[in-house]
Protein backbone atom coordinates (compact mmCIF):
# COMPACT_ATOMS: atom_id res chain seq x y z
CA UNK A 1 0.00 0.00 0.00
CA UNK A 2 1.79 3.14 -1.23
CA UNK A 3 1.90 5.92 1.30
CA UNK A 4 3.79 9.07 2.22
CA UNK A 5 5.95 8.48 5.27
CA UNK A 6 6.85 11.26 7.67
CA UNK A 7 9.26 11.14 10.58
CA UNK A 8 9.18 11.82 13.41
CA UNK A 9 5.47 11.63 14.19
CA UNK A 10 5.89 13.76 17.29
CA UNK A 11 8.64 16.15 18.33
CA UNK A 12 8.97 18.22 21.47
CA UNK A 13 11.90 20.58 21.51
CA UNK A 14 13.13 23.61 23.35
CA UNK A 15 13.08 27.04 21.83
CA UNK A 16 16.24 27.75 19.88
CA UNK A 17 16.90 24.14 18.91
CA UNK A 18 17.11 22.92 15.34
CA UNK A 19 14.27 20.71 14.12
CA UNK A 20 14.43 18.49 11.06
CA UNK A 21 11.36 16.79 9.66
CA UNK A 22 11.63 14.14 6.98
CA UNK A 23 9.30 12.90 4.30
CA UNK A 24 9.46 9.95 1.95
CA UNK A 25 7.09 10.62 -0.96
CA UNK A 26 5.30 7.88 -2.83
CA UNK A 27 7.60 6.29 -5.40
CA UNK A 28 7.04 7.82 -8.81
CA UNK A 29 5.45 11.02 -7.54
CA UNK A 30 7.34 14.06 -8.80
CA UNK A 31 5.63 16.81 -6.80
CA UNK A 32 6.14 17.23 -3.07
CA UNK A 33 4.36 19.74 -0.85
CA UNK A 34 4.97 20.91 2.71
CA UNK A 35 1.96 22.22 4.61
CA UNK A 36 1.63 23.55 8.14
CA UNK A 37 -1.65 23.20 10.02
CA UNK A 38 -2.68 25.24 13.02
CA UNK A 39 -6.08 26.01 14.51
CA UNK A 40 -5.70 29.69 13.72
CA UNK A 41 -4.26 29.56 10.19
CA UNK A 42 -5.60 26.28 8.87
CA UNK A 43 -3.56 24.48 6.21
CA UNK A 44 -0.83 26.76 4.90
CA UNK A 45 1.36 25.83 1.95
CA UNK A 46 4.98 26.39 2.96
CA UNK A 47 6.82 25.10 -0.10
CA UNK A 48 6.60 22.67 -2.97
CA UNK A 49 8.97 20.88 -5.27
CA UNK A 50 8.59 19.44 -8.73
CA UNK A 51 11.15 16.93 -9.96
CA UNK A 52 13.17 17.83 -6.84
CA UNK A 53 13.42 21.50 -7.84
CA UNK A 54 11.90 24.06 -5.46
CA UNK A 55 9.15 25.87 -7.34
CA UNK A 56 7.60 27.99 -4.65
CA UNK A 57 8.59 28.61 -1.06
CA UNK A 58 6.83 31.94 -0.67
CA UNK A 59 4.80 30.61 2.25
CA UNK A 60 7.86 29.85 4.29
CA UNK A 61 9.62 32.19 6.75
CA UNK A 62 12.99 32.38 5.03
CA UNK A 63 15.03 33.41 8.01
CA UNK A 64 14.50 30.19 9.94
CA UNK A 65 12.90 27.63 7.62
CA UNK A 66 14.52 25.70 4.81
CA UNK A 67 13.22 22.90 2.60
CA UNK A 68 15.26 20.57 0.43
CA UNK A 69 15.02 17.38 -1.60
CA UNK A 70 18.42 15.71 -1.50
CA UNK A 71 17.04 12.93 -3.69
CA UNK A 72 13.74 11.71 -5.09
CA UNK A 73 13.01 9.60 -2.02
CA UNK A 74 13.59 12.24 0.65
CA UNK A 75 12.30 15.71 1.39
CA UNK A 76 13.34 17.64 4.47
CA UNK A 77 12.01 20.66 6.29
CA UNK A 78 14.30 22.33 8.80
CA UNK A 79 13.63 25.01 11.35
CA UNK A 80 16.60 26.75 12.93
CA UNK A 81 16.21 28.21 15.46
CA UNK A 82 12.77 26.97 16.47
CA UNK A 83 10.29 29.22 18.27
CA UNK A 84 7.10 28.45 20.23
CA UNK A 85 4.99 29.95 17.40
CA UNK A 86 6.30 27.17 15.13
CA UNK A 87 4.26 24.64 17.12
CA UNK A 88 1.92 23.00 14.62
CA UNK A 89 1.33 19.84 12.63
CA UNK A 90 3.53 19.72 9.54
CA UNK A 91 2.25 17.66 6.65
CA UNK A 92 4.13 16.44 3.64
CA UNK A 93 2.14 15.44 0.57
CA UNK A 94 3.13 14.04 -2.79
CA UNK A 95 1.45 13.78 -6.15
CA UNK A 96 2.02 13.65 -9.88
CA UNK A 97 1.04 16.37 -12.34
CA UNK A 98 -2.39 17.65 -11.32
CA UNK A 99 -3.53 14.51 -9.56
CA UNK A 100 -4.65 14.45 -5.97
CA UNK A 101 -2.16 14.99 -3.18
CA UNK A 102 -1.45 12.07 -0.88
CA UNK A 103 -0.74 13.30 2.61
CA UNK A 104 1.52 11.75 5.19
CA UNK A 105 0.36 11.38 8.76
CA UNK A 106 2.15 14.54 9.79
CA UNK A 107 4.73 15.59 12.35
CA UNK A 108 3.27 17.20 15.44
CA UNK A 109 5.84 19.75 16.60
CA UNK A 110 5.76 21.37 20.02
CA UNK A 111 8.32 24.03 20.82
CA UNK A 112 8.52 24.91 24.50
Amino acid sequence: DARVTQTPRHKVTEMGQEVTMRCQPILGHNTVFWYRQTMMQGLELLAYFRNRAPLDDSGMPKDRFSAEMPDATLATLKIQPSEPRDSAVYFCASGSRTSEAFFGQGTRLTVV
Partner: protein, 112 residues
Protein backbone atom coordinates in the same frame (compact mmCIF):
# COMPACT_ATOMS: atom_id res chain seq x y z
CA UNK B 1 -2.53 36.43 -3.64
CA UNK B 2 -5.08 33.72 -4.10
CA UNK B 3 -7.40 33.17 -1.13
CA UNK B 4 -9.93 30.42 -0.63
CA UNK B 5 -12.66 30.82 1.96
CA UNK B 6 -15.18 28.29 3.19
CA UNK B 7 -18.46 28.69 5.00
CA UNK B 8 -19.61 27.75 7.46
CA UNK B 9 -16.61 27.32 9.72
CA UNK B 10 -18.48 24.84 11.92
CA UNK B 11 -21.69 22.87 11.47
CA UNK B 12 -23.50 20.61 13.91
CA UNK B 13 -26.26 18.46 12.46
CA UNK B 14 -28.47 15.68 13.70
CA UNK B 15 -27.78 12.34 12.09
CA UNK B 16 -29.94 12.06 9.00
CA UNK B 17 -29.94 15.78 8.25
CA UNK B 18 -28.30 17.21 5.15
CA UNK B 19 -25.11 19.29 5.18
CA UNK B 20 -23.58 21.73 2.72
CA UNK B 21 -20.25 23.55 2.73
CA UNK B 22 -19.40 26.34 0.32
CA UNK B 23 -16.01 27.27 -1.06
CA UNK B 24 -15.19 30.65 -2.63
CA UNK B 25 -11.98 31.68 -4.34
CA UNK B 26 -10.76 35.23 -4.85
CA UNK B 27 -9.49 34.24 -8.31
CA UNK B 28 -10.60 31.96 -11.13
CA UNK B 29 -9.48 28.39 -10.66
CA UNK B 30 -8.30 25.83 -13.17
CA UNK B 31 -9.64 23.04 -10.99
CA UNK B 32 -10.69 22.33 -7.44
CA UNK B 33 -10.23 19.38 -5.14
CA UNK B 34 -12.03 18.33 -1.99
CA UNK B 35 -10.46 16.61 1.00
CA UNK B 36 -11.74 15.18 4.26
CA UNK B 37 -9.74 15.17 7.46
CA UNK B 38 -10.92 13.04 10.37
CA UNK B 39 -10.11 14.27 13.88
CA UNK B 40 -6.44 13.56 14.56
CA UNK B 41 -5.89 12.41 11.00
CA UNK B 42 -4.53 13.76 7.76
CA UNK B 43 -6.40 15.16 4.74
CA UNK B 44 -7.66 12.47 2.38
CA UNK B 45 -8.59 13.22 -1.21
CA UNK B 46 -12.26 12.93 -2.13
CA UNK B 47 -12.66 14.30 -5.65
CA UNK B 48 -11.43 16.72 -8.30
CA UNK B 49 -13.60 19.00 -10.44
CA UNK B 50 -12.24 20.55 -13.61
CA UNK B 51 -15.04 21.77 -15.86
CA UNK B 52 -17.22 24.83 -15.41
CA UNK B 53 -20.57 23.81 -13.92
CA UNK B 54 -19.39 20.25 -13.32
CA UNK B 55 -21.37 18.10 -10.88
CA UNK B 56 -20.07 14.82 -9.50
CA UNK B 57 -21.62 12.39 -7.06
CA UNK B 58 -20.13 9.86 -4.69
CA UNK B 59 -22.91 7.97 -2.93
CA UNK B 60 -24.40 10.56 -0.55
CA UNK B 61 -21.90 13.28 -1.49
CA UNK B 62 -22.55 15.75 -4.32
CA UNK B 63 -19.83 18.11 -5.51
CA UNK B 64 -20.39 21.11 -7.74
CA UNK B 65 -18.04 23.53 -9.51
CA UNK B 66 -19.44 26.95 -10.27
CA UNK B 67 -19.95 28.28 -13.78
CA UNK B 68 -17.33 30.97 -13.25
CA UNK B 69 -14.92 28.45 -11.71
CA UNK B 70 -14.56 30.58 -8.60
CA UNK B 71 -16.77 28.64 -6.24
CA UNK B 72 -17.68 25.11 -5.33
CA UNK B 73 -19.91 23.24 -2.94
CA UNK B 74 -20.11 19.88 -1.22
CA UNK B 75 -23.48 18.54 -0.18
CA UNK B 76 -23.97 15.48 2.00
CA UNK B 77 -27.41 13.90 2.05
CA UNK B 78 -28.62 12.17 5.21
CA UNK B 79 -25.47 12.56 7.25
CA UNK B 80 -24.07 9.68 9.26
CA UNK B 81 -21.72 9.68 12.23
CA UNK B 82 -18.95 8.48 9.91
CA UNK B 83 -19.17 11.84 8.08
CA UNK B 84 -17.64 13.63 11.07
CA UNK B 85 -14.50 15.57 10.20
CA UNK B 86 -13.26 18.71 8.53
CA UNK B 87 -13.92 19.20 4.83
CA UNK B 88 -11.46 21.26 2.83
CA UNK B 89 -11.58 22.53 -0.69
CA UNK B 90 -8.27 23.19 -2.45
CA UNK B 91 -8.05 25.36 -5.52
CA UNK B 92 -5.39 25.53 -8.21
CA UNK B 93 -4.85 28.80 -10.04
CA UNK B 94 -4.80 29.30 -13.80
CA UNK B 95 -1.23 30.52 -14.15
CA UNK B 96 0.26 27.10 -14.74
CA UNK B 97 1.09 26.62 -11.10
CA UNK B 98 1.03 23.16 -9.56
CA UNK B 99 0.20 24.38 -6.09
CA UNK B 100 -3.16 24.10 -4.42
CA UNK B 101 -4.37 26.64 -1.88
CA UNK B 102 -6.52 25.07 0.79
CA UNK B 103 -9.70 26.65 1.99
CA UNK B 104 -10.31 27.43 5.63
CA UNK B 105 -12.28 24.21 6.13
CA UNK B 106 -15.69 23.35 7.54
CA UNK B 107 -15.76 21.21 10.66
CA UNK B 108 -18.77 18.90 10.69
CA UNK B 109 -20.15 17.27 13.82
CA UNK B 110 -22.95 14.76 13.54
CA UNK B 111 -25.09 14.14 16.59
CA UNK B 112 -26.52 10.64 16.88
Amino acid sequence: GQQVMQIPQYQHVQEGEDFTTYCNSSTTLSNIQWYKQRPGGHPVFLIQLVKSGEVKKQKRLTFQFGEAKKNSSLHITATQTTDVGTYFCAGRGTSGTYKYIFGTGTRLKVLA
